[in-house]
Symmetry: C2
Subunit: 103 residues, 2 copies
């Protein structure tokens, strides 16, 4: 019950991953190379392909990104649903089930 939240908040902790979410918000369904070049072009982030790939894996583990494969392409789609947990936990106290056990 905490393991999910743990992945979610850990995914959001990195600024590069948040920028990736921004880019996917603007244009969902991008490939790894598209995201790489957008990070480089528009944000000056000269990261290696693997670095971005690892970031996407973290975002996928958090449920914030979903992937679909077509041939040799892998498209990345944004899923904002997990973010609603944040809203319901502290911004709307007493609507859902809060309370967290141990880390």
């Amino acid at each position: 019950m905490e393991c999910v939240a743990d992945d979610l908040f850990k995914a959001l902790a990195d600024p590069t991953r948040r920028t990736i979410l921004d880019e996917l918000t603007e244009s969902s369904g991008q490939t790894l190379f598209e995201i790489c070049s957008r990070l480089s072009m528009r944000h000056g982030l000269g990261l290696s392909r693997q670095a971005v790939s690892q970031h996407l894996a973290v975002l996928e583990a958090a449920g914030l990104v979903e992937t679909r494969r077509e041939g040799r392409y892998k498209f990345h789609d944004l899923n904002t649903a997990p973010l609603r947990e944040i809203t319901e936990r502290w911004l709307a106290p007493g609507e859902s089930a809060p309370e967290e056990s141990t880390p």
Copy 2:
């Protein structure tokens, strides 16, 4: 513009800090020792006083906790306002100013 978000998301990344936010949601205005004992009693977290103090400092840097001093007591109050940035950034695309520069 990113420095604020960086503190915010970093603060939320730790499960102990999220539990502290839960406790302050339930009862705002607690002292350091109150928070310590509640973490121990209700969540089985046997942390040192300093550990909790450092967590509170991180939460305060993120703007999620505000403090007021009275005599030798220091009370900690919850402030959920910074959390709305998350909602406005990805859950309501195009209402506020998104776009992040570099990490």
